[in-house]
């Protein structure tokens, strides 16, 4: 739940975002050296692993958010999530406000089901890295860059395993469907209670019409091929 209640990280400059992990490793390593640690590299990697355990889940919540409008809604604390009845079991609910709430809960449940696969990603990566070094699978590390490169390969290998879980695509698709339902309920709620009607149907019909006219013109003036 800690990840769900944390605020999304502020946007960072691209290079800073790219080097975030490496910089964290170096800072933690330097601090461990200053503190006279017996195993400064191991200590620094443990810091990085804990960071990835939390940060990757936050990042994925942001990545899978159904749109900027919903960021606060899908990240807000929902301590009672497990106690609420499954929205699907309730059938159709007459009040649009409640239907929207149901959609939020359903979305969060599907998202949690997917993200469960990513639990402890950093810790698993650290175990993989330690095993690689101990078993001599990876060559001895002689620079911070080499250690970080190995770390990145281990994280990617662990995450690739997640992606290869047989029902991964189905879990991801369920999140997409729940996000769609959430957006639809929000539109319905806005229309019924706030009187804000989206012009989506008319707009889409118009787009189709324009494309159809262009198509007919093209067929009438079909160029020689």
């Amino acid at each position: 739940m800690a990840e769900a209640t944390a605020s999304p990280p502020p946007p960072r400059a691209p290079l800073a975002a790219e080097l975030d992990g490496y910089q964290r490793l170096l800072i933690a390593w330097d601090e461990a050296l200053n503190a006279g640690s017996d195993d400064p590299a191991g200590q620094a990697l443990a810091v990085l692993a804990r960071h990835v355990d939390q940060q990757r889940l936050r990042q994925l919540r942001g990545l899978l958010c159904p749109g900027g409008l919903y960021e606060a809604l899908v990240l807000m604390p929902m301590p009672g999530l497990d106690m609420l009845p499954d929205p699907d079991a309730l059938g159709s609910w007459p009040a649009p406000g409640l239907a929207m709430w149901q959609a939020v809960v359903a979305y969060r449940r599907r998202l949690d089901h997917l993200l469960a696969l990513y639990d402890g990603l950093g810790t698993r990566s650290l175990e993989r890295l330690q095993a690689a070094l101990a078993e001599g699978v990876a060559p001895p590390v002689r620079s911070p860059r080499a250690l970080y490169g190995l770390w990145q390969r281990c994280v990617d290998a662990c995450e690739a395993e997640v992606l290869r879980v047989p029902d991964y695509s189905a879990r991801l698709a369920a999140v997409a469907r729940a996000a769609t339902r959430l957006r639809a309920e929000q539109r319905r709620w806005a229309a019924q209670w706030l009187g804000i009607h989206s012009a989506s149907e008319a707009q889409r019909a118009l787009s189709d019409e324009i494309a159809d006219i262009r198509r007919q013109l093209r067929l009438m003036a079909r160029p020689g091929r």
């Binding site: 400059a13 691209p14 290079l15 800073a16 975002a17 790219e18 080097l19 910089q23 170096l26 800072i27 390593w29 330097d30 050296l33 195993d39 400064p40 590299a41 191991g42 990545l63 899978l64 749109g67 070094l133 101990a134 990876a138 001895p140 590390v141 002689r142 620079s143 911070p144 860059r145 250690l147 990145q152 390969r153 990617d156 995450e159 690739a160 992606l163 290869r164 991964y168 695509s169 189905a170 991801l172 997409a176 469907r177 769609t180 957006r183 539109r187 989506s200 707009q203 889409r204 118009l206 787009s207 189709d208 019409e209 494309a211 262009r214 198509r215 093209r218 067929l219 160029p223 091929r225």
Partner: protein, 356 residues
């Protein structure tokens, strides 16, 4: 920690170095506009023209990039540009820029993109150079569109090169195809009728860990040079930019290609015309990446089972998807191979080269 032999001095020097890079970071500037001319095609689509190094002498080349990302990655930076590499070899290059679809484009179909936009682009290029035929390079999804074009307008194409292009969408382990088959395309379409760019951006970001180890991450060593840092920033900028997808074309692409595999089975129809790759009349060079996480090798190589053997040539490249047209090795070797293929008079045996 076992196996780690790094001194305190190394760690401290590296920490200071990284901090200095970050302190010196500048925002990404505007993308260079090296093209000599922009020619309106239809809707928001324009052709960007880059003359060849020897003027208009060479046969013009039409580059068809995917609808998913912006094509700017093909001209990333001076000295690191797929387009520039082709220009240097004398090819006048036309890049199809699809623009950024908005609500007014929600009804644009795959047939519109091929029979409308691409056919018009082809006509423009032929007229401007007074040529009967044009060379075409299709990249990723753009390769699918280019194959459709080559099938439906065979007399206008001299030679065709496809780069990292899926043809069989039902190969084992194709995660993107698995996802596409699990969702109802209509479910993801936004209120304006289009697929929001961030949906695809999120999906591709999830798949990123599947990239080949060598192509997975930016090697920190690469960042020592300021020019390389700038190039990386531009690449990151491009990677974060996913235009919305015209809703109808996107739904059709998912349904016909990913779900029903119609390109592979020869049953895809555009405006009632069947796209049959077995009847492609021009020589084809198929370039695929051995560690492509987006287009599995088998998905790309399926083209070889469809095109007549004497017309089919293949180039395998080590590395990942983007590396083929934006990586250092890809820029040098792939642009050269594509150019040689277009300039060759006779190609009797398939080319297969390992780039390492």
């Amino acid at each position: 920690m076992t196996g780690v032999r790094v001194t305190a001095a190394q760690v401290r020097a590296e920490r200071a170095r990284v901090q200095a890079w970050l302190d010196a970071e500048q925002p990404v500037g505007p993308w260079p506009t090296r093209e000599r001319e922009r020619i309106g095609i239809e809707g928001k689509a324009v052709l960007r023209f880059y003359p060849g190094s020897n003027g208009a002498a060479g046969r013009p080349l039409l580059l068809v990039y995917s609808l998913v990302n912006r094509p700017d990655v093909l001209d990333l930076a001076p000295g690191h540009s797929f387009i520039e590499a082709l220009q240097r070899r004398g090819h006048p290059v036309y890049l199809m820029d699809w623009g950024r679809p908005d609500a007014s484009d929600a009804g644009v179909s795959m047939a519109d993109y091929v029979n409308g936009y691409l056919i018009k682009a082809l006509q423009q290029v032929r007229q401007r150079h007074a040529r009967r035929t044009v060379d075409v390079v299709g990249i990723c999804q753009g390769g699918v569109l280019a194959l459709c074009l080559a099938s439906l307008a065979p007399r206008a194409i001299h030679r065709l090169a496809t780069l990292v292009t899926p043809v069989d969408f039902h190969t084992p382990g194709d995660l993107l195809a698995g996802w596409a088959r699990s969702v109802a395309p209509e479910d993801l379409v936004a209120e304006d009728g289009n697929l929001p760019g961030h949906v695809l951006g999120g999906l591709f970001a999830l798949l990123r860990p599947l990239r080949a180890a060598t192509a997975t991450r930016t090697a920190v060593a690469e960042l020592s040079s300021r020019r390389r840092r700038e190039r990386l920033l531009r690449l990151l900028d491009w990677q974060a930019d996913y235009p919305d997808q015209a809703g109808r074309a996107w739904r059709e692409f998912v349904t016909t290609c990913y779900r029903d595999n119609q390109l592979r089975t020869g049953t895809l129809q555009l405006d009632g015309h069947v796209v049959d790759l077995r009847r492609l009349g021009c020589p084809v060079l198929n370039v695929y990446a051995r560690a492509d996480h987006m287009v599995p090798v088998a998905a790309a190589r399926a083209l070889g089972q469809m095109v007549e053997p004497h017309r089919y040539h293949e180039l395998a490249v080590d590395g990942g998807h983007v590396g083929v047209f934006a990586g250092r090795r890809g820029l040098q070797a792939v642009s050269a191979a594509v150019s040689d293929f277009f300039l060759a008079r006779n190609q009797k045996s398939p080319a297969d080269a390992r780039l390492s």
